[in-house]
Symmetry: C2
Subunit: 70 residues, 2 copies
Amino acid sequence: MNIKEKFGQKIKSLREQKGISIEHLANISNVDRNYISDIEKGKRNVSITIIEKLSKGLEVKVQELFNYEE
Amino acid sequence: MNIKEKFGQKIKSLREQKGISIEHLANISNVDRNYISDIEKGKRNVSITIIEKLSKGLEVKVQELFNYEE
């Protein structure tokens, strides 16, 4: 699995743990809904500013988004 | 300081701790030398694939690049 896929899976699992929809995460993180959907599928080469927005929306430190138990 | 600046400072400090030049890091991480220079100045909205290349070049986990003692 490449880093985009790992990152996408982590966003999805954290979002589902919080019990929120993609729409809700899109609203609270100010990131486009379809973009988040693509991210979760590992399709996007996400930038650091989007990474920060998602970490704020998910209320976790940015580091947590890269915790993959390698 | 925004996330781009924090990230840039972290890359620079880790690189300097390892005692390697920007040129050397550019070679081992396969990232353009001028791009690394811009990253260290906080000018670049770095993507996740570049982040991974830099973590490999600096021989640290990606998480370490986002450890800013917030």
